[in-house]
């Protein structure tokens, strides 16, 4: 089994689905001839034809509107938004249309679309190429929100998203595209090659939406993370020698509450870490759910380690990013609390 990067795994997911389902089409800025600015759709137009993988005008709202109409017709469109930071013009179509269509038509129409967008920082993208906007979408009823942390999950989750009959927002941590990232920007980049999760089958398989992954067993504290922060949390636990149990949520909505509750009831402590800004971030929902379900098992206040409530500053990227030092500090606070 060849090792795949996350880019290759995502590409393979779309290649597989284009091959299996003639109703799958892909469009977005620069995704056709060029294959996407991150190369995620590389070669797909050449292989599957320009009617199936094509360039779109720079109009995210238009792309999503068109995807809603295509979905209502019966296609399964995949829209690439070049950066999650550019998704805002599409939010009206996502929130007012895609997410509501099944409900407001009492099941007459629906929009089985997938929106892919690279998210997160770590590549010196500045304020407009670094944001993590997942909480905007988890707040919307009718949308599913997915964020993978490795190539195997990325492919399996993307296939599940494409096959899902509800609209799915699929965020791809761009810092993980070409290798896992331990959160230390001063260390050399590591490729996916030797990572166990880079072993990706060539063909069709799924990773179900709504199921978290236990990526590290531990007894001292539960860590709830997703995307890039999975790797950062693993690093933090190792470096601080803390017996942390790390859960990769993979899907934020629907959320795998059982895995979370089982773990927190076992450890009695909980740290939540995400790259997105803190206030009303997804961590706030997680903290509320943990206290609702596990209050009498908690031995310490829930700790949040997050991006600051500021825009993502270009030169100060690593002061903003919740790296392993800050996560380890959060783990210690949860243990001391």
């Amino acid at each position: 089994m060849p090792g795949m990067t996350m880019v290759q795994a995502l590409n393979s997911a779309m290649d597989v689905m284009l091959g299996r389902d003639p109703d799958v089409v892909i469009f977005g800025e620069d995704v056709g001839f060029y294959g996407g600015v991150f190369r995620v759709t590389d070669g797909l137009q050449k292989k599957h034809g320009q009617e199936r993988v094509f360039d779109a005008p720079i109009a995210e709202g238009g792309m999503l509107a068109v995807a809603v109409g295509m979905g209502a017709y019966g296609l399964r469109p995949i829209v690439e938004i070049q950066f999650a930071d550019y998704i805002y013009p599409a939010t009206d179509q996502l929130i007012s249309a895609a997410a509501r269509l099944r409900y407001r038509s009492a099941g007459e129409f629906w929009a089985p679309l997938t929106v892919r967008a690279p998210c997160g920082g770590g590549i010196f993208g500045g304020q407009t190429h670094s944001q993590s906007v997942e909480a905007i979408f988890t707040h919307v009823c009718g949308l599913k929100t997915v964020i993978p942390s490795n190539p195997y999950d990325a492919k399996g989750l993307l296939i599940s998203a494409i096959e899902d009959d509800d609209p799915v927002v699929f965020f791809e941590p761009k810092r993980l595209y070409n290798g896992p990232f331990d959160g230390h920007p001063d260390r050399p980049s590591v490729p996916w090659t030797n990572h166990p999760q880079s072993e990706v089958p060539e063909g069709h398989y799924t990773v179900p939406l709504g199921k978290a992954a236990l990526v590290r067993e531990g007894a001292a504290v539960t860590v709830l993370v997703y995307g890039t922060m999975v790797h950062v949390a693993l690093t933090a636990a190792e470096e601080a020698s803390i017996d942390a149990e790390i859960i990769d949520l993979r899907t934020l909505l629907p959320l795998d509450i059982e895995t979370i509750v089982t773990s927190v009831k076992k450890t009695g402590r909980c740290v939540i870490a995400h790259e997105a800004t803190r206030t009303c971030g997804f961590g706030a929902e997680l903290a509320a759910l943990v206290q609702e379900h596990c209050f009498y098992h908690l031995e310490a206040p829930i700790v949040r380690v997050t991006g600051w409530d500021t825009p993502y500053p270009h030169a100060l990227e690593w002061d903003y990013f919740p790296g392993p030092v800050r996560v380890a500090d959060g783990l210690r606070r949860a243990l001391e609390g």
Binding site: V25, E51, P57, A59, G61, G62, A65, V66, A67, V68, G69, M70, G71, A72, Y73, G74, L75, P77, P89, D92, Q93, S96, A97, R100, L101, R102, Y103, R104, S105, A106, G107, E108, F109, W110, C141, G142, K144, D165, D166, G210, L253, P254, L255, I257
Partner: protein, 420 residues
């Protein structure tokens, strides 16, 4: 902070800049003024072939396609030459739409539902367009195209049950009255967000083209919502992908209390929006059943032959209020609609049929009374299934259904919390 700029004493200073706000005119109590409506004679506008390059239609953006003249004769190249039976069916659908609107407006006033929106004066738009489209062409309407459902023979009972949000409402009481959805009638679920569905129709049309289907899409927006980015998106995507779609702007002069000038109608027509996108355009007398039919037929034929989208401006007048929630007498002269220079669509088609010897004032009056009975009977039946004020409604547990195809745990839990 005082932002006033002191007067300049320098006589060579450039002129002061001036902000232009379109005037609100005429106001209630003033004399209606339709001097801005250029009343082209019927029959004078040329009809290009449906496969001409888009630019060959662009001068039509500043014309007005009219077929019915003041005497009720059908004249000129745009006369669709419909047989009398089709004309009578068209008249009937328009009259039924008006009767339905009147009944539901009264039902709202009597508290049987929360809200209603009539299309009085604009019946030719939806009805003639539905007649010109194939029954399975997908319509993405606004809330003022109830005439499409009626023209397609959709049961009034079903529409009324939706407006009453009662136990037989196919939308289970989830949608505001008039925001219908009827997949079997190729009538797309109405959003209520203005403009939002205009580009969705383009996507549907692209999908139909991708699949090698024969069905085209048609979308409607009011002139007011052409100011939304969605309108621009629709025209861009329709142009880039040559989507088989008919894009309709119903210019009924008013967006609630804002005149069409506030939407950008002062310096250019809405049909002229097509020019910069390289789309074909037609501008048509929206109160002329024959002209609306002919323009729509032209655009549909063009789309079906893979020549792309047409933007049609339907020039009409909103004779009623925007909805049950506003009083037009507070923002426009009370008698303005009576003076609309392009007349009433029902009267005009009726006069045409009379002129053809295919109709009479007696038959018209008789039909009017039959339709009122039909609407009354449907309303009585609908009310047996409930009204918004009296119920019954769908049970509260249905509130949690259809958010997703399968209900996730958090919604099941919230349903338990509600105790249903």
């Amino acid at each position: 902070m005082d932002t006033a700029i002191p007067p300049s004493s320098d006589s060579n200073a450039p002129p002061r800049l001036k902000l232009h706000i379109p005037p609100h005119h005429p106001a209630p109590g003033e004399t209606p003024d339709f001097s801005y409506v250029r009343r082209y004679a019927a029959g004078v506008t040329e009809r290009p072939a449906t496969d001409v390059p888009a630019h060959a239609t662009h001068e039509l953006a500043y014309h007005l396609i009219r077929v019915l003249d003041d005497d009720g004769a059908a004249v000129g190249a745009w006369d669709p030459k419909l047989d009398p039976e089709t004309l009578r069916r068209g008249l009937r659908a328009m009259m039924l739409t008006r009767a339905y609107d009147d009944r539901m407006m009264r039902a709202q006033r009597r508290g049987k539902t929360s809200f209603y929106m009539k299309c009085t004066g604009e019946e030719a738009v939806a009805v003639a367009q539905a007649f010109a489209l194939a029954p399975d062409d997908m319509a993405f309407p606004t809330y003022r195209q109830q005439g499409i459902l009626i023209a397609r023979g959709w049961p009034l009972l079903d529409m009324m049950c939706q407006c009453y949000s009662n136990a037989k409402d196919r939308l289970k009481g989830r949608q505001l009255p008039v925001l219908y959805s009827a997949r079997e009638a190729s009538f797309f679920s109405l959003a209520g967000n203005l403009g939002n569905q205009f580009p969705q129709a383009v996507g549907w049309a692209m999908a139909s083209a991708y699949k090698g289907d024969h069905r085209i899409a048609a979308a409607w927006t009011g002139e007011g919502a052409t100011a939304e980015g969605d309108f621009h998106h629709a025209l861009t995507f329709a142009s880039v992908y040559r989507a088989p779609v008919v894009l309709n702007v119903v210019n009924n002069q008013w967006a609630i209390s804002s005149h069409q000038e506030v939407a950008g109608g002062e310096e250019a027509t809405f049909a002229a929006r097509a020019i910069g996108f390289g789309l074909a355009c037609l501008r048509v007398d929206g109160n002329d059943f024959l002209a609306v039919y002919a323009a729509t037929q032209w655009a549909a034929a063009r789309a079906r032959a893979n020549h792309g989208a047409t933007l049609i401006e339907l020039f009409t007048y909103r004779a009623g209020p925007h909805s049950t929630s506003d009083d037009p007498n507070r923002y426009r002269p009370e008698d303005e609609w009576k003076l609309w220079p392009l007349g009433d669509p029902i009267e005009r088609l009726s006069r045409h049929l009379v002129r053809l010897g295919e109709w009479s004032p007696e038959r018209h009056a008789q039909l009017e009374s039959e339709l009122a009975d039909e609407v009354r009977d449907a309303a009585r039946e609908a009310e047996r299934y409930g009204t918004l004020d009296q119920g019954p409604h769908f049970s509260a547990k249905t509130m949690f259904e259809d958010v997703f195809k399968e209900m996730p745990w958090h919604l099941r839990r919230q349903r338990q919390e509600l105790g249903v």
